[in-house]
Symmetry: C2
Subunit: 118 residues, 2 copies
DNA sequence: ATGAGCACATACCAAAAGGTATGTACTGGT
DNA sequence: ACCAGTACATACCTTTTGGTATGTGCTCAT
């Protein structure tokens, strides 16, 4: 399902192996603002994500030690996801990049979309 | 070739629209350490990249205002790529994430690779 | 009894990203 | 004459990623 290199040529490459992809950093960002969430809450908070993607990314983030999963063993099921200290450190590290993006979000949105004609 | 959203839900998403992918941040990192490089120099510096990928990423980075291309109009061709101030700002913003990755590079490399059994 | 919500699992498919191979136009070296 | 090197372009193919649809076992509300 997931293939990961064992050797990285720079730290950013290693970091992106952990939060890369379309959804992970949004999940991280959501969880780091407002604490633990249930699966359904996350699904509603991360707009546009499908259940398959959400559970898949959560599993990988859990394996990577970024989020922790707490199952309350209730019925109907009740599970809470939260950020680990390791994940919190990562969230802090992404902040400058996040701010850079926010500062230039208009510029980025208005950049040429296509690079070549069909 | 490239399809880009016009609306981003957070700054990091916008930033990754610009340096996302397998090679761009390596190119940025290479150019930000040591200044301008020729195409061939970059190809040798960014180990593993193909010419197709290099020129493609360079074009997009140029369109995005991250790198600038200078053609010396000589024969044989001589072209130099360098980082713009905009790109330099981006490079600075990636540093904490890069450092986080470097700090935990061993841990990341030893994390489980597979998420599900076949 | 019927449907909704919980937290998933799974099969299948489309799109995007990335890689390989080859070609171009020119020059300089052997 | 032939190969290497310059900086690319292009066609084709594979891998990876992401999306849709559907199912599961359980409970509560209508």
């Amino acid at each position: 399902m997931r293939k990961r290199k064992k050797v990285y040529s720079c730290g950013l490459e290693a970091a992106l192996a952990v939060i890369g992809g379309k959804w992970k950093f949004l999940i991280l960002w959501t969880l780091s603002n407002g604490g633990a969430r249930r699966f359904g809450e996350l699904r509603r908070a991360v707009t546009g994500i499908s259940e398959k993607m959400l559970i898949q990314e959560l599993k990988e983030l859990e394996l990577d030690g970024i989020v922790s999963r707490k199952d309350f063993k209730e019925v109907p099921p009740r599970v809470e996801y939260s950020i680990t200290p390791f994940g919190a450190e990562l969230a802090i590290a992404t902040r400058p990049l996040c701010e850079w993006g926010t500062r230039h979000i208009r510029r980025i949105g208005s950049l040429p979309t296509q690079i070549a004609a069909e």
